[in-house]
Subunit: 407 residues, 2 copies
């Protein structure tokens, strides 16, 4: 290492090498992040990202709530606050669980995070020792793979079937050695769009209880089920062994970075310690604005609007896929959420499709980074929430031509 | 572990024991947090916390900025954004470093965090392997002790003298074995209120460069130097080996949770990966509001107001200490920031003072948790930024009686 006083302040000399912590080697550079950089030009029709439809963000309503909060009690909203988060927001969440899902969670068992991504970091901190076996769906959510990787687990991949995770496989792997933690998204999974069947949820809970496995139930998309009907969360069947996470990103605003984590008191105590060490508390201004907004506006009406729009965009995309893509292309039929999952015809690689589609100004996301154990070379994640129906039709039509040209 | 299906959803059975990650054992439960719970009653005069004076939060100006952002470009402010943070805010920070300190940092080398506490978590992730020697001032900032503890370092304590850290001690300990990371607060340190002398800064940089030690320069209080004059940061002398952090909490609003981290490009690449895994990005709405506020308002006038007020509150506290506390009480003479540091007369314990003072409705913070290697039983941190001069005089007078009664 060179030790001279650098002459040009702030310009790191290129030769200098730093020594980083071992855990950084294990965290995949975000493939999505790199791809999004390429695809964010306005002339590109992008199915690569995971953004909500901006037309469904109620900026006017949030502006009114912000004015109300800042003009009436601004200094409190702008001061330091408690690590757990704004009581009014935590009470709203508890109340909604009770009304919507019939589950009873005390506001004391809810902590507000910076979007639900932070829940994963906190869970990694609190639960994962290096080398711990951590089960995840195959394909699994990239954000969870990234967050957990920093805590150096050994991932155990559980294949996703149309009904949910392969429970026989999970049972076999659990019998073979303790799995302290499993992560999954039972509603409209990212990336696959698959939702777990009702009986899969209760059977999964039985396996978790039998093996002493904590389940991280990521429910970022539960409110976006097109039918408006909700299956019971896994939490319902194994409350003491489930850490349930949620998010306002898909129903209110992602830019406000508001998510939450629900856990048993003994776990919550550790989560609070980890949260405090991580950033003291979440943005209090945003919490107060969100709480105000939710008190003043009929959120159910707004969510119904989002569901209806996404159901339309999804069915438009599935129809276009049926019409435009080769017949031996596989794809999931999401009942909610923001994504469908495509399996390409034999011998066509998703990276080739990605490159060729980009030349036609269409961006898709190869499924490879969603696999912790390799594979998935023939898969794509397509997002339908962020493009108009017209752009969906045009984009999928171009994608069809690209795939045929490679076949 | 009990494995039955719990009958009452959400009520963890008390017998159940969870297995947590080893790192959680090492993180001290926040003593401050526990104390603040006791002391937050309005009839208590509290010198225990570290809150800015709420009268100096410009809620009206921030409300106007929020309205402007949300009414003109709300959907963008409420959507997902880049991990690095809002360009306008990063440019403001770079510009201010240039104008205020004459140091040149590109906005590309600045990332926006959830308050500067999150910088410490990101630094821990990126740099600290379990067992790494990490140097910290003695007494050292509790938030850093908590954040770093999760990454399981071996702390190396460097005594703080009136001029800054004991450089001979640092040199001796660096010679004895590699210290990859050192953390310090050169301006108005928390908890001691001490500022490093100018020559200590450059000599410290020499030692860092010589030994290949990265310095984490926490500059949360640099803007609060009462005189308005700024000594060069350590960054100035060792830019490639200094990770510089800053905060809007003390000059704008803590509730918005906006801090930042500056680092050489090779380090920044890892910080971005860690930040993305931690929570994708910081609250974008707050970032846009802050950027707007800083464009529309003369922040220097506002900071001058804060400096003047805190200088007055500080000198009021020091005068009261001189007048009311026993003559053999030691205390620092801060040139800025929010705290003074008291060393009690012989054979008086800070915990006893804490308990007795609380009975008189005065809250003080025992210095014990600021020591990673024990000791400090006779020290107190007193905060002067959050109490009016009248309450300072009353509180210190009561504290004097309490200490005399124990002597």
């Amino acid at each position: 290492m060179a030790h001279q006083l650098a002459g040009r302040a702030g310009r790191p000399s290129q030769e200098k090498k730093y020594r980083f912590a071992g855990r950084m080697e294990r965290t995949p550079r975000s493939f999505i992040r790199e791809i999004l950089k390429v695809t964010e030009k306005p002339d590109i029709i992008s199915f690569a990202g995971g953004l909500p439809n901006p037309d469904l963000i109620d900026a006017g309503g949030i502006a009114a709530a912000a004015e109300n909060v800042l003009r009436s009690d601004g200094r409190r909203a702008l001061q330091y606050a408690t690590t757990e988060g704004a009581p009014a927001l935590r009470e709203f969440i508890a109340d909604r669980y009770r009304k919507r899902l019939g589950i009873f969670i005390s506001p004391d068992n809810i902590l507000i995070t910076n979007g639900s991504q932070q829940c994963l970091d906190l869970i990694g901190k609190v639960f994962i020792n290096p080398g711990d076996r951590v089960a995840i769906e195959r394909p699994g959510y990239l954000g969870a793979i990234q967050a957990f990787s920093l805590y150096e687990p050994d991932f155990v991949s559980i294949p996703l079937k149309e009904s949910g995770p392969d429970l026989e496989d999970l049972r076999r792997k659990s019998d073979a050695g303790h799995i302290p933690l499993m992560y999954g998204i039972p509603n409209s999974q990212n990336p696959s769009g698959i939702s777990y069947d009702g009986n899969v949820r209760s059977e999964l809970a039985d396996i978790l209880l039998e093996h002493g496995t904590i389940f991280v139930e990521d429910d970022a998309y539960g409110e976006l089920t097109f039918s408006g009907k909700a299956l019971p969360p896994v939490y319902r069947y194994a409350p003491d062994q489930t850490v349930l996470t949620g998010s306002f990103s898909k129903i209110l605003s992602p830019g406000m970075r508001l998510g939450w984590i629900c856990a048993a008191s003994e776990i919550m105590e550790k989560i609070v310690t980890a949260k405090q060490a991580s950033d003291l508390h979440s943005n209090f201004l945003s919490q107060q604005i969100a709480a105000r907004y939710l008190m003043d506006n009929p959120i159910d009406d707004h969510i119904r609007k989002i569901r209806k729009a996404y159901a339309g965009q999804c069915s438009c995309m599935l129809e276009a896929i049926r019409r435009e893509l080769p017949r031996d292309t596989g794809f999931t039929r999401p009942e909610g959420g923001m994504f469908t999952w495509v399996t390409l015809p034999e011998n066509i690689s998703s990276m080739e499709v990605f490159d060729a589609a980009l030349k036609e100004n269409v961006a898709v996301l190869p499924g490879i980074p969603f696999y912790v154990d390799g594979g998935g070379m023939d898969t794509l994640r397509l997002n339908f929430s962020n493009a108009s129906e017209e752009r969906i039709r045009t984009g999928i039509s171009r994608l069809g031509k690209v795939i045929r040209s490679l076949g």
